[in-house]
């Protein structure tokens, strides 16, 4: 047990990596391509099961307050440590990653014809990298994982994608690489500033840097701080993506193979929002607060813009991709409200969006495998030939629309509560801009219903319009089996959200404290006391 507790995260990173090597070896010696998917599924499932050990209550927080913490010197010359750990921010994201991987693998069951070995190896490498991103506490190690996750996805899109795959892959790469390069600069700058001010030599260690900041040993000049903040923020904003950096997403999603889209939506986008919370808020609280109005504005534009553009998409997958822009807008909004409700809601929405949008991409994949098209006009009346498919699709849509008791509602509701309570935007006698922001964000609720239901109506209901759809087979047992855990989660998270929220409570409070502490006062509105209000009489 002790061994597991102290090495759990490393094991989680290693299992897919070892799996990738073994898969390659297996192919080199036996050339049994039909066994590839089983091997990959085995490794991802194993990883999921091992990741459940994180629920163990016997784990004690490590030196920096993280669970399953490990801190081993790596490159002495530049003082880089292999420092990993997990806390409330990353806990569920890790589980989400290990949970979604087997599902993504099963979704490829009959879909990979070209170079299957490479495909599955890339999937496994991707999983290692994603887990690494969520557990790294050393900036350089984080950066390496962050970049490493890019490469397998680049190839997944570029080799196994649709017609415009090259364009989409290159676009994906250019957008994200440019952003993260600036982040690397910022990381290195931070290293030298740390060395300069503390006299302890440079450091990439997040907890050490934070401690130095809190102790006042490391003070960033406002201008430097802002530059560094922006470098980090740009990298993450592109990843999220925040409007107007979003145009890589529809192309990447549309061209990627189903498994790629699922992972992209469920996990890769979350690396952006996670990064903002973990690094931007913690390292540069002042700047985060000062720029909050920009991010809130962009988030609201993203919510409305994403929804409006989703509405007019002729391609189902592109529509779902634009809906991601809207959903991630909510996440950004909640985070930058700097309230407990808003940030908790943001974390919850990250999970909910991962499950729901992942499910939507799977569903789109199902129909694509049958008809080799995703044009909405090619369909109509599909519920007549595929009733189970239609049912599952409608339930998933409802979760995405934010129907109460399904997972989409809880997060978005909390985000808007948080925005209403927030005082991060100016409050004047004429207008409370926090209210106005929340009200505008709320219109996303209407638009989500419009674009999703319109699509559902055109694809599923009415008479069977296209003769080509007549012979479509309903979902197979494999496909149903794939959807059941996702559907169950949508309901469970919607009805019993507290276990999910409880895990992240302390971490969120700590970050909120951090941002508030630097403000020298309370950001959250003091509650209206009965006595105070009674004076109005």
């Amino acid at each position: 047990m002790d061994f597991l507790n102290s090495n759990l995260l490393t094991i989680l990173i290693l299992i897919p990596l070892v799996g990738a090597v073994l898969t390659l070896a297996h192919q080199a010696f036996w050339k049994q391509e039909s066994q590839l998917k089983w091997l990959t599924l085995g490794f991802t499932l194993l990883n999921f099961l091992v990741s459940l050990a994180m629920f163990s209550t016997s784990a004690k927080p490590g030196a920096s307050g993280f669970l399953f913490e490990q801190n081993v010197p790596w490159i002495k010359a530049i003082n880089t440590n292999y420092h990993i750990g997990v806390d409330g921010l990353s806990f569920w994201l890790l589980i989400l990653t290990t949970f979604i991987m087997p599902i993504a693998v099963i979704s490829t069951w009959n879909a990979v014809e070209k170079r299957p070995t490479a495909f599955y190896v890339f999937l496994l490498l991707l999983e290692s990298a994603m887990i690494g991103v969520f557990v790294s506490l050393d900036l350089l190690v984080f950066y390496l994982f962050f970049e490493a996750s890019l490469i397998p996805m680049f190839f997944l899109i570029g080799v196994w994608g649709g017609q415009n795959r090259i364009y989409a892959a290159v676009k994906f790469f250019i957008f994200t690489a440019i952003g993260s390069l600036l982040m690397l600069v910022a990381i290195i700058a931070l290293f030298f500033i740390y060395a300069d001010q503390t006299g302890l030599g440079g450091s990439f260690d997040l907890p050490s840097i934070l401690n130095a900041m809190k102790a006042g040993n490391l003070v960033l000049a406002p201008q430097t701080g802002m530059l560094l903040f922006l470098a980090f923020a740009l990298a993450f904003s592109i990843k999220v993506p925040v409007f107007p950096f979003h145009t890589w997403l529809p192309d990447a999603h549309t061209e990627a193979p189903t498994a790629g889209s699922v992972i992209l939506a469920a996990v890769l986008l979350k690396m952006g929002t996670y990064g903002l919370m973990r690094f931007n808020f913690a390292l540069f609280p002042d700047q985060a607060r000062e720029t909050a109005w920009i991010f809130i504005t962009l988030a609201i534009i993203g919510i409305i813009y994403g929804a409006l553009v989703a509405m007019v998409q002729p391609d189902v997958k592109r529509l779902v991709a634009y809906s991601s822009v809207a959903h991630m807008g909510f996440v950004i909004l909640g985070m930058f409200s700097f309230t407990e409700a808003g940030m908790q809601g943001a974390l919850f929405t990250m999970l909910a969006h991962g499950v729901t949008t992942g499910a939507l991409f799977l569903l789109v994949g199902f129909i694509y495998e049958r008809r080799h098209t995703r044009e909405i006009t090619q369909f109509g009346g599909i519920s007549n030939v595929m009733p189970i498919y239609a049912t599952v699709f409608v339930i998933t849509t409802m979760a995405s629309v934010g129907l109460p008791f399904l997972n989409g509602f809880v997060g978005e509701f909390l985000i808007m509560v948080g925005m209403f309570q927030s005082q991060v935007l100016s409050v004047t006698a004429a207008a409370n801009w926090n209210y106005i922001a929340a009200m505008f964000a709320g219109t996303g609720v209407i638009f989500a219903a419009v674009y999703l239901l319109w699509m559902v109506q055109r694809v599923f209901f009415g008479k069977l319009a296209n003769a080509k759809n007549k012979g479509l087979e309903d979902l197979s047992w494999r496909e149903i089996g794939l959807m059941i855990p996702l559907l169950a989660l949508m309901v469970y998270m919607g009805v019993f959200p507290r276990p999910f929220l409880a895990r992240s409570e302390d971490a969120v409070k700590a970050i909120k404290e951090r941002v508030m502490h630097q403000a020298g006062g309370s950001i959250e509105k003091t509650e209206l006391k009965p006595d105070a209000a009674a004076d109005q009489h």
Binding site: A169, M311, N384, I446, Q457, G462, P530, H537
Partner: protein, 713 residues
């Protein structure tokens, strides 16, 4: 505080029924099984609801504190909490009783009406799910859980309107209903946030949960907030008036008031029992429930109340004017429902909250009756809904005729029938709004009263027209209609499911066709509802009437609901309460006079309807009324189409593809051309691109590190 865990049985019984029908009913495909499960589960709810309302712990309707049932804590973050908890007080008790009872009757009716439909089990699964959501809505003990039910009924309404999935009209209507409801939901959502920000709670009742004291929104409001000014500015001031307006936005969506009313008539594309249950008796009155539930807030927000009254009156007359020119029997009833809902909001707006609920209840009886009656007619007429092809049905369908006639008298407001007492009280309270308005002087009461009276006449006219066209006159079963024939509007519940061909379904009535009376499972619910429409109003006879026959305390209904109406300390509200209790002779005299007047109006309306349409049932009506004042065209032309165009041409193609991608492609093209020059390779496409990118990236990294070092250095 009384705890009773039976309360949750009321909502979970229908949920269980829905699940059983969905999972098992779908396999068995046995109508007896599905019908039994569905009706049985509602029967359980009905018995428990009545038991809790009238018997257990002295009856929730009569005791001072609500009966509560805490099930689990749903969301808790920081100071925000929302429980999954139910509460029954007189208001939710009355609602629960009539929802379960009328719901039970409609379920029974539907087993006959939907007989032979391929999706029988699916229909009842949806219907049970609706009952679950509706009962959650009214029994919820806080705004958030109420909102769950609110969204749930919206979803079920969506599913049931679109039940005949092959009809294009049905799927359009379903989407429209959902979207319009969602616009309203935005108001409820934002209203809730504002309530929470102002009061720090969302609970309806003061209670103790797990040792923590939870204060209700209303007791907080009464204790800590005072009446807001009667000005336009109050609407955007972020106080109670803003809350009131936001919640009312939700109510206009759910209860089809101006401007969000166009979905309800379209919703008639669903099966008729659905129209009766959801779009007449229960769901559409949820908006009234919300307003009355929040009466403590509204009493302190006179601007909001005034607007509610004005919108209510405007909707009432607007919808009534359209109803008069419709030829589809269900459309007449749909616009009539919109109009009656307007009356309810008028009542709530002038501060007669109990009367609004009274009208909700009587309306549930007679409108459910009329809808089921129309369903029986449609059933007997081989799925014909156009009244121009009916006539003289009283000969063939006597039970349907007699029961519908009682509903007709009830809605017209003929004394002793249920609609008379409730509608008359609305008229009187509007007339005397100055005296009874809790927030004081009510500007424009005479105009609203005039509109209401005129609407009452119109109501009698269009209902008489409907009755005459359907049941009297000559038989017009094969009448050719010159107007563009629209098959889609038929309630083709068998046709849509049985015939799987893609051919457009054509409607043929055989030449030897004779309408027939419906089976007993359909007529018995009609008879029971006819009885309720006749005698149901007697629980709320106002003093001015009952004293005529020497009974002093006949208004049990108002008396029961009194604890729900917040007693604010405003002078005007205290005076209004005094006024209502005093029964001064001249006031009583005036009320009797007005009642007499409204009876005369009803009779005039019926007479107009009779003489105008008895001998000329196909009389041409003004085109603009038939076309519903072109409201749909207005919305499409000025809102829907421009937004769609903007999204497609400007945002997507202009900004995304044109502007942003233009920049990126420009850069990308440059990099690739450059790469091509430097390194012409024969290796595969992707690898060469990757190599170029990696080299480019390394160069960039090098540059930035150099620059970064200088910056720090």
């Amino acid at each position: 505080m009384t705890e009773n865990n039976l309360l949750s049985l009321i909502i979970f019984a229908p949920l269980t029924g829905a699940v059983i029908n969905w999972l098992i009913g779908g396999r068995l495909k046995n109508e007896a099984f599905s019908g039994l499960v569905a009706c049985g589960s509602i029967l359980v709810s009905t018995i428990v609801a009545f038991y809790l309302a009238f018997v257990a712990n002295g009856g929730a309707l009569f005791i001072e504190h609500p009966v509560l049932d805490h099930i689990w804590t749903w969301i808790q973050v920081g100071s925000f909490r929302a429980d999954f908890a139910l509460g029954m007080d007189p208001l939710s008790g009355i609602y629960a009783c009539f929802i379960t009872f009328v719901g039970l009757l409609i379920h029974i009716f539907a087993t006959g009406y939907m007989h032979g439909d391929k999706g029988f089990y699916r229909f009842f699964a949806y219907l049970n799910l609706f009952m679950f959501a509706m009962l959650t809505l009214v029994l919820a003990d806080n705004y958030l859980l109420m909102f769950v039910g609110w969204e749930g009924v919206g979803l079920c309404s969506y599913l049931l309107i679109g039940y005949y999935t092959k009809k294009n009209e049905a799927r359009e209507a379903a989407k429209k209903a959902f979207v319009m409801n969602r616009i309203g939901d935005w108001g409820v959502l934002v209203g809730m946030f504002l309530i929470f920000t102002l009061t720090g709670t969302l609970s309806f009742f003061d209670k103790t949960v797990d040792g923590t004291q939870v204060q209700s929104v209303f007791s907080f409001v009464l204790a800590n907030m005072s009446v807001e000014p009667f000005t336009w500015g109050a609407i955007i001031a972020g106080g109670l008036t803003s809350v009131g307006m936001l919640l009312f936005v939700g109510a206009t969506g759910k209860s089809a008031q101006i401007p969000l009313l166009t979905w309800l008539p379209d919703a008639m594309a669903g099966p008729t029992p659905v129209s009766a249950l959801i779009h007449a008796a229960t769901m559409v009155t949820a908006g009234v429930y919300l307003v009355v539930r929040s009466n403590a807030i509204y009493q302190l927000a006179p601007t909001a109340m005034w607007i509610i009254a004005v919108i209510g009156a405007a909707t009432a007359i607007f919808a009534a004017s359209i109803a008069i020119a419709q030829n589809d029997i269900k459309k007449v009833l749909a616009y009539s429902t919109v109009s009656q809902l307007g009356f309810m909001f008028l009542a709530a707006g002038v501060g007669a909250f109990t009367v609004a609920i009274f009208h909700v209840m009587t309306h549930a009886f007679f409108k459910a009756l009329l809808f089921l009656g129309s369903g029986s007619v449609i059933h007997g007429m081989h799925h014909e809904q156009d009244m121009r092809r009916m006539g003289n049905l009283k000969k063939y369908m006597p039970i349907t005729f007699i029961t519908m006639a009682t509903g007709w008298l009830a809605i017209c407001g003929i004394p002793i029938w249920a609609g008379f007492f409730s509608k008359d009280e609305i008229l009187y309270k509007t007339f005397a709004a100055d005296k009874y308005f809790p927030a004081g002087k009510f500007p424009g009461e005479e105009i609203l009263w005039g509109i209401a009276v005129f609407t009452a006449i119109l109501t009698a006219v269009y209902m008489t027209r409907m009755m005459v066209m359907t049941f009297w006159g000559e038989e017009r079963f094969h009448h050719e209609i010159d107007a563009p024939h629209h098959d889609d509007t038929h309630d083709e519940h068998n046709d849509a499911q049985v015939h799987d061909d893609d051919e457009e379904e054509h409607h043929h009535i055989p030449h030897d066709f004779k309408p027939h009376e419906s089976p007993w499972v359909m007529t018995i619910p009609l008879i029971i509802l006819a009885f309720l429409s006749t005698a149901g109003g007697l629980v709320g006879v106002p003093y001015a009437m009952s004293s005529l026959v020497g009974v002093k305390n006949a208004n049990t209904f108002e008396h029961t609901l009194e604890p729900v109406i917040a007693e604010t300390r405003m002078e005007s509200a205290v005076a209004a309460r005094e006024n209502a209790k005093s029964h001064a002779p001249e006031v009583v005299q005036k009320e009797r006079l007005l009642a007499g007047l409204s009876v005369v109006m009803a009779v005039i309306g019926i007479a107009i309807g009779w003489f105008a349409f008895r001998n000329n049932p196909l009389r041409k009506m003004p085109k603009i009324l038939e076309q519903k004042w072109k409201l749909d065209e207005l919305y499409n032309g000025f809102i829907v189409d421009p937004i769609t165009r903007l999204s497609r041409e400007r945002l997507w193609k202009g900004f995304d593809l044109g502007f942003i991608d233009g920049i990126v492609n420009g850069i990308g093209g440059f990099v690739m051309e450059f790469g091509d020059l430097v390194r012409r390779t024969q290796v595969g496409f992707v690898r060469s691109y990757a190599a170029i990118i990696v080299i480019g990236a390394l160069a960039l990294v090098g540059y930035f590190i150099y620059y970064g070092l200088k910056l720090v250095g």
